[in-house]
Every structure is written in structure tokens, then in C-alpha cells.
Symmetry: C2
Amino acid sequence: MNQKQLQSEQTKKKIAVAARALFVQKGYKATSIEDIVGATGSSKGNIYYHFKSKEGLFLFLIEEWDHEWELNWKQSEHLYNTTTEKLYAVAEQLATDDLNHPLTKAADEFFHNEEKTSEVESRMAEMNAKHLAFNQKLLQEGIDSGEFKPGDAERLAVVLEAIFFGANHLSRSLAPDKTTILYRDAVTVFLDGVAEE
Amino acid sequence: MNQKQLQSEQTKKKIAVAARALFVQKGYKATSIEDIVGATGSSKGNIYYHFKSKEGLFLFLIEEWDHEWELNWKQSEHLYNTTTEKLYAVAEQLATDDLNHPLTKAADEFFHNEEKTSEVESRMAEMNAKHLAFNQKLLQEGIDSGEFKPGDAERLAVVLEAIFFGANHLSRSLAPDKTTILYRDAVTVFLDGVAEE
DNA sequence: CACAATACTGACTGAACGTTCGGTATAGAT
DNA sequence: ATCTATACCGAACGTTCAGTCAGTATTGTG
């Protein structure tokens, strides 16, 4: 890799970092390309040289983030023995991730906005499916080991995803320390329910 | 009420109905005032005569809808004896409500968009608090009656809200018949958990 | 040095959109 | 009949913003 390619890569990274900060702070729609220009010192044209579109730039960030999350998890998963422990650990990671990397807010503002190219739609679906598969695998593990009651892991995966998604949403209007509590409570309820036996 | 006032009220209603249909169909941002003009035959100016702003119009619809929901619930609550039954009934109502009145989609697109006037923000908070209070009351009822385990109804209310919110979100990429199943599953998990006792 | 190829610039375009405002029509009051 | 308040119209305005493009600078290559 020569000088030029290196420089180019650094520029791209610089744009990505600045854009991420802005999206996190202001949300997707409210962040204009002009804002990113202001934050990077790069020109508008240059941003479009490195990224196909605003959408493309955002998608890039999302995927980068998802990828990082996955890596983190793979590195720490072995620390937990039971599926129950793993569930709490996932919740913990999601809770702190939402605090440190709250791209999530911008993410679902983005995903909700009507104008979705077919490419975006398919990537959304892909990511969604990945999350559900992750949940399902975890739950199936718990069922097989006898920790969890026998049940349809696929359907439960959807419920779990709903819980995490909802917790993420509600946490936005919560004090930071309440967020962790909410995620923990959510997992506890998911495990034991509220009903008297 | 004279002829003029009556006419005026009908016009306002007509605008509201058309706008609701459009918001439901296309979402908040994607629905332009021009669209509403097209759908009503009323002029742009007239819309602004009856409603302060696009935001104001949408807020009006949301509150109308919330109010209707509350009425419906109050009318049917007495049909259910146990809190458990009530919970399933709420889930049922939310599930079908999402199908029949999917203003929800537009609603949280709206609520997520960065540009929130302080008035909007306070109304959001108000509605949110109302939902939590509703949940809390229901859960406290169940705890007091001995149906549910002793616990912090306030914290559980947040968890329940997260579940409903998440279910609502996920249901959008689900077949209609799966929606009801998801809501039911969610309540079942909320009640009994997944863990083996 | 000449010649690309790559990296970058920023003025400009064009369209979308919410809101305003000067004006008109109509119904009720005096 | 005159007046006034309310209801309604729609062209125009101002702003925002993603994306383009013709051109310039910089770096690598033969």
C-alpha cells in the first residue's frame, strides 16, 4: 500500500468517524452532508468520492458497528457458562453499548423513514434476520441444556428481540443508571415471568 | 351551533380523516401538506386555518387516537376478571389496533425525528407517562391480588412497556397473523418466563 | 519530464416542502 | 343594507439539502 492509498483510507476513516459522531448526536435526517463537511474539513465532493450517498455512508457505519458488536461478543462469550449468564451478559453489553455507541437512535430513525431503496430494505432484513438467528441459537442452547423450558426457540427469539428493542427505545428517556436496571429487569422477567407459580 | 360552525367542524374532520389515512399509508415525513390538499380538496391555507402546523395536525390525530383507545379499554375492562386475563386482553387490543389503526408507525417516526418543539416533547413525555401509569396500575393490581409475585410495579411497568413497544415494532415486518401470536407469546413470557423452575 | 490515475474542491442545481399572506366569499349580526 | 367575523383560497417565499460536475492538486509510473 503506497502513500496515496494510505492517505485515502485515512480520509475515509476520518469522514466515517466524524459522521458517526454527528449521527449519534443529531440523528440521521438532522445531520446534513454540510455538517459533515464542517466537521471533517473535507469537501462535499470528497465525501461523495468516498461514499456513494448519504444512505451509503450511514449503512457503512451501521455495518461497521454491528460487526464490532459481534466481535466483542465472540471474544467474551466463553466467559459465561450457563445460558442464563449469557443472557444477562448480552443485556449488559447492549445496555452499555446503547450508552457508548448510541447509533441505535439514528439507526431506527433511518430504518423508519419511508424512502428506502430496495438495497437498504434488503440490508435491513438481513441484519434483522441475523439478530433473530443469534437469539434463537442462544435460546435453543438454553432449552437443550435444560435450563429453559421446552418451547419454540424461533418464536421466543422474536419475543426476546422485541424486549431488547423496546428496552433500547425506552432507555432513551431514562437516566443512564436506570438503563442497566431496565435491561436487567427485562432479562429477569424474560427468565422468570411475573406470575406467582 | 349555526350553519357556519357546523360546516367548519365538518371541514376540520374531513381534513383530519384524510390526513390520518395518508399518514398511515405513507408515514409522517413522506406525507406532504400538498398530499393532504389533494386528498381533501381543501386548500393549503385552509388546512393552516384549522391546524397550527403539520406537527399540530399530527399531534391532534395522535391524541384523538389515544383517547379512543382509552375509551375502548374502559368499556371492555369489566369483561375480564383476573389481571392475567386483562393483560392478554390488552395485548389483543394492541395487536389488532396496530393492524387496524397503524398510525403507530407514523407516530414513532414522528417522535424520533430530531426537530421536536418543546411542546411536542412535553406532550410525548405526557403520553409516555400515561402509558407507564396504566401498566403500573394493572401490575400493582395483579400483585395485590396475589396473582403476581411481589415486586416493584413501577420497574415492571417499564419492562412491560418495552415489550409492547418492541412487539409493535417487530410486528411491522411480520405477517398479520403472526402479530397476534407475537403479542400473545410476549405476554406469556412476561407472565411465566422461559426458565425451568 | 511527461502522462496518467487518483484524490480532492466547492460553486451550482434542482427539487421538495412547510409556512405565510393578501385577498375573496359567505353567513350571521345590527 | 351594511358591517364584521369567520372560512377559505392558492401563488409566492424562503429555506434546506442531497447530489453533480468541471476543474485543480497530488502522487505514482514509464
